[in-house]
């Protein structure tokens, strides 16, 4: 009722009339978002580029050095290791997260008792702050008190402790496991939502026509799920590529830089040693790769959706 009582537009004060104009209203509504995103995304992005072409350190403004920081990166063996680590980490975890997430989504797509509870509990690794749950993993991977070692020893799988975080390859395996553990729920629940939009009639019709479960999955479920899958993979790849928390807590990039990713290496140089400009250059080096991934995937998604 208050709306009707609020009166007509004719004769309203000028400010009110301005808000009646669609363009003005839109501008006013978008203003807070534009200010915040401009101040804290667009501006820092520009600032990052400026930093990356200087030799600034903490407290020192620095001078223009052109592409000097990037040239230094190009001759830095650790940087190549970082690129390789990040690509490996992203590729392996994404494949496993997709496979396991899809499997879990297919399991959850059946009806069974307590389904709502199972679904709610399964999302916990994704809800709980990553740093905190990663500490639980670090404790499980502890060199002397590892519960995983204990269990495997009792089951006679191993006869001496595995030094999970002390060996380069094993440390990489450990952070990959934690990332998969954290990411599977996100894949499963998103893909489950996608699965639920697929009409069961299609599967039934195929079953009547004699299609085996695997055939039904491959020729019906998978193609229909592909658009959702691609978007989920896109999000996951970006997050994984730029991951920081898991590595920071588990290994800090070690042993001997074996698990450093872009973000942790940028942090170590930029914040740890105060070489702001070099840190900024490493962070920025992520951008063209991420940009490429996004463009390729968006083009692919568009093609899939048109088809």
């Amino acid at each position: 009722m208050a709306i009707i009582a609020a009166g007509t537009v004719v004769g309203a004060p000028p400010r009110r009339r301005l808000l009646e104009d669609e363009r003005w209203l839109a501008m006013m509504l978008l203003l807070p978002t534009a200010v915040l995103l401009g101040l804290f995304i667009a501006y820092p992005f520009m600032r990052g580029i400026v930093l990356a072409v200087t030799d600034a350190r903490v407290g020192i403004a620095g001078e223009f050095v052109g592409l000097g920081n990037f040239e230094r990166l190009a001759s830095d063996p650790i940087f190549y290791q970082v690129v390789w680590n990040t690509v490996l980490y992203t590729a392996v975890t994404t494949v496993f997260k997709l496979a396991l997430g899809l499997w879990l989504a297919l399991l959850l797509n059946r009806s069974f008792r307590g389904k709502a509870y199972v679904r709610a509990f399964i999302l916990l690794p994704f809800i709980i702050p990553t740093v905190l749950s990663t500490f639980a993993w670090k404790w499980m991977f502890d060199p002397t008190f590892s519960v995983l070692n204990w269990t495997m020893y009792q089951l006679s799988i191993i006869n001496r402790p595995i030094n999970w975080l002390g060996d380069g390859d094993l440390a990489m395996l450990s952070i990959i496991i934690v990332n998969i553990w954290r990411g599977v729920p996100f894949f499963a629940i998103s893909l489950l939502a996608g699965l639920q939009t697929i009409s069961p009639d299609l599967n039934e019709a195929a079953a009547i026509d004699g299609a085996k479960p695997l055939q039904r999955f491959w020729y019906i479920t998978w193609p229909l799920l592909l658009p959702v899958t691609m978007v989920v993979v896109l999000f996951s790849v970006i997050q994984t590529f730029a991951d920081f928390q898991i590595v920071y807590v588990m290994t800090g990039g070690g042993p001997a830089n074996a698990t450093h990713l872009f973000a942790t290496y940028a942090y170590q140089l930029g914040v740890g040693t105060g070489l702001l400009s070099q840190g900024a250059a490493i962070s920025l080096a992520m951008f063209p790769i991420l940009f490429l991934i996004v463009v390729v995937q968006l083009l692919y998604i568009r093609r899939v959706e048109i088809r």
Partner: protein
Amino acid sequence: MIEGAIWRRWVFFRIPLFLFILVLLFPFYWMAITSFRPDGELYRPWNAINYNPFWTWKPTLVHVQYLFRETMFTTWLWNTMLIALASTAISLVCGVFAGYALSRLNFRFAGLLGTGIFITYLVPQTLLFIPLSEIIRNYRLGDTPWSLILTYPTFLIPFCTWLMMGYFKAIPRELEECARIDGASRWQAMLYIIVPVAVPGILSAGIFAFTLSWNEFIYALVFLSSPEQKTVPVGVVSELIRGDVFFWGPLMAGALLGSIPVALVYSFFVEHYVSGLTGSVKG
């Protein structure tokens, strides 16, 4: 769906599902049991005999006590809560406004702006933290809650806007037009007619934003320095590890208690959270 013998049901459904649940939830069980276990039991060599790591008969609260007496854990909890609530509120207001403008108003560049917001959705925090830390210092926001309250919306707004656009698009235009014919201004039609209809969407966006801010780490790590300003994740990392020494009891107690608020909020709004999550992906 499942045809054939009972063993198939076990092999293809029950056992895999059970294993998934076991692996996904075990770290939380481990966190909980470690929190209530005396140090004498925690630090036993991995191959000690007569040792059962999965249960304790001597539960203790010393780790929790340590956490509350010797560290500023309560302060961290309050800081995190305040920052998460404030940044969620800001993001919701911005997201509802922007989502409404982009989905229901006609103006030039609407498509371009929508794409722009979507692109920022894809910029990870780790790309910007170094220049941003410099900017925060220049604005004299460093080591204050404002440094996070103002920066968290940068990754929350795009998501809120995206989600709200989906909700607003689904509301029939006639609803708004009726109100306008009855004399409501555009602003009133939005605030009193469209926004109330979109409350489920706002709730989803809010819950999702809240859990994301509770989870954020790198900005909090870089922008905050004094112990009394820290959030739970940063406080636990920086104050419970001294050099190479890990205080596993208090650490796990801190991880457990620091997770409970967000888990509680989640448990009350599971459905909204899930629709926020899936909505953010489907767009």
